[in-house]
C-alpha cells in the first residue's frame, strides 16, 4: 500500500513567539523553524508501517514556501521515499490546504493519508478532517493506534474522557496524536541519502486550486498579561494566602 504523509514547516515549538509591533502577525524573520511535531509523528508512523511490511511507498507532501523543501528532506531522512512541494508564497488556510492535499491524493492514489492533528502555529486542527471530507473518505482524528487489516483499519482515538475504538474503511485519512509513537532522530548518513531522493515542486494553479484566504486577519495582539505573583516561604503561608487572600479554599 502507498501512504501519503503531509508535513508543515512551523516556528520551532520551543521558541517563544513575538507579536509584531504593527499587529500584522508574529515575527518569523530569523526565527528557528522546525517540522510541526504532529507531522513528525505522522512520518514516523508511515516509516514504521513500511518497516513492518504493510506499506510499500511513502510520499511526503508539504505546502509552503521554497524553504519547506528542508522539511521534506527531513521527512525523507526519516524514511519517506519521495517528496512533493506545493509551492505557495503567502498564507494558505486549512480549507485550501485540504483542497491541495486532495488534488495530490487524486493523482497519487494512496491507500492511506496520515496527517498531524494540529499545526502548532495557527492551532486550527482542521486539515485532516477537511481532507477526509473532500475525498469522501472516513477519518480517524487524534489517533493513538492503527492496525491495517486488508481493506479496513482498526484505530484507537484519543477522546476527552479516554479512548474510542473504530473500524474504518480504507482508503482513509488518519490524524496523529502524541501517543501514536515517538519519532526517531535523523542520522547523518540518512540526511545524505535523503538529498538524493526525488523532490517534485508544483504550483497550486497546476492542481486547479484557488488558495485565496477566506478569513481576513484584522489584527494580532499579545494576550492579556497576568499580574505578578508572590513567593511564599512554606506550606503554612501558602494555605493561609489561599484561605484569606485568594479565598479559593
Amino acid at each position: 500500500m502507498k501512504v501519503l504523509v503531509t508535513v508543515k514547516r512551523v516556528i520551532d515549538p520551543y521558541v517563544k513567539v513575538r507579536v509584531k509591533s504593527d499587529g500584522s502577525g508574529v515575527e518569523t524573520a530569523n526565527v528557528k523553524m522546525a517540522m510541526n511535531p504532529f507531522c513528525e509523528i505522522a512520518v514516523e508512523q508511515a516509516v514504521r508501517m513500511k518497516e513492518a511490511g504493510t506499506v510499500s511507498e511513502i510520499v511526503v507532501v508539504s505546502i509552503g514556501t521554497t524553504q519547506s523543501q528542508e522539511t521534506l528532506r527531513t521527512a525523507m531522512a526519516m524514511g519517506a521515499d519521495r517528496g512533493i512541494l506545493v509551492e505557495v508564497a503567502g498564507e494558505v488556510q486549512p480549507l485550501a490546504v485540504a483542497k491541495l492535499v486532495k488534488a495530490v491524493v487524486d493523482k497519487e492514489q494512496p491507500g492511506l493519508v496520515i496527517m498531524g492533528k494540529q499545526a502548532i502555529d495557527d492551532d486550527s486542527n482542521q486539515c485532516g478532517q477537511m481532507t477526509a471530507a473532500l475525498l469522501g473518505w472516513p477519518q480517524s482524528a487524534f489517533t493513538s493506534a492503527i492496525a491495517v487489516n486488508g481493506d479496513s483499519a482498526d484505530v484507537t482515538r484519543e477522546i476527552d474522557g479516554g479512548l474510542e475504538k473504530l473500524t474504518i474503511k480504507l482508503p482513509a485519512v488518519v490524524t496523529t496524536d502524541l501517543r501514536l509513537n515517538e519519532p526517531r532522530y535523523v542520522t547523518l548518513p540518512n540526511i545524505m541519502k535523503a538529498k538524493k531522493k526525488p523532490l517534485e515542486v508544483v504550483k497550486p494553479e497546476a492542481l486547479g486550486v484557488d488558495v485565496t484566504p477566506r478569513l481576513k486577519t484584522l489584527k494580532v495582539e499579545e494576550p492579556a498579561k497576568r499580574s505578578a505573583g508572590v513567593k511564599v516561604v512554606d506550606v503554612a503561608e501558602l494555605v493561609a494566602k489561599l484561605k484569606n487572600e485568594a479565598r479559593v479554599i
Binding site: I159, E164, P223, G229
Partner: protein, 308 residues
Amino acid sequence: MAILVIAEHDGKQLKPGTTNTVTAAAKIGGDITVLVAGTGCAEAAQAAAKIAGVQKVLLADAAHYAGGAAENLTALVQGIAGQYSHILAPATGYGKNFMPRLAALLDVQQISDISAVVSADTFVRPIYAGNAMATVQSSDKIKVITVRATGFDAAGEGGSAAVENIAAGADTGLSAFKSQELSKSDRPELTAARIIVSGGRGMGSGDNFKILEALADKLGAAVGASRAAVDSGFVPNDYQVGQTGKIVAPELYIAVGISGAIQHLAGMKDSKVIIAINKDPEAPIFAVANYWLVEDLFKAVPEFTAAL
C-alpha cells in the same frame, strides 16, 4: 440570524462546553437552535431545552450516531445547514473531530477555538499556544465555529424550548463504532472542575501521582497533568492540560512539579488563581503563578494535604 449549536452530551446530560457555546451564540445574536444527535439521547435533548436563551431543540436519535461518528454526524448537519447563518460546537475533542469535516463539505473556512465574539462575522482566537490573539473576519456565507469554553460563561437554566424530532440521516457506512474506554474516576471532570491539581515531569512516576490524588480528594479537585507527564507514561492522555490537550480555567489551579513549558501554559493560564510548587527557583511556571513555593514537592504536597 439563525444559529445552530451542536450539543455535546453523553445521552443523558449535556457536557459542560455546550452551555458555554450557547453563550457564545447569544453574543452573536439571533435565534438559537440546539441539535442533540446521538444514540438514546432524549434525556439530553430535554436538558438542552432548559438552557436559557434556546428557542428550539432538534433531536436526531439513531444507532449510527454512537461515539464521535464524524462521517454520519456531518452528513446529518449538512442537510440542515442551509437554514443557519452560524453553526457552533464546543472546541473539545468532540467538536474538533467533526466540525472541520462539516466546514469542508459546506466549502467554508472554519474559525477554530474562538475566545471572544466581536461581531457576527468577526471573532478573536488564540494562535501559537495562546501567545498571540488573532482577530479574524469571515467572508463565508455560513460561519462554522468551534468555541473555547473558557472564553464564555455557561448559560444558565430557565429555558423551555420545544423538542422536535428530526429524521436521522443515512448511515454512510464509512466507519463502524466499536467501543469507548472511558477513564473511571469519582473526581470531577477536568473541564468542569472548580479546582485542579496537576502534576508534571517532576512527579517522577505514575505511582507518585497518588500524593496528588490525596490532595485532590481533600479539595474535591480534578487531577491533570502536563504533556511531559503524559509523554513519560505517568498518566493517560486524557489528563493532559495544554495546547494540544484540554484547555481549562478553574478557580484554582495547582501546578506541582511542572516547569511551565509554553504548551502547558497555553492550557491553564486563564485560571483565576494559579499556585506552583517546584524545587527549581527558575521554573517558568512561576511567571504565571499568583503564589509560588520553591520546595521539594514530595515534602510540600503531603504537608499541604495535611494542612487542609
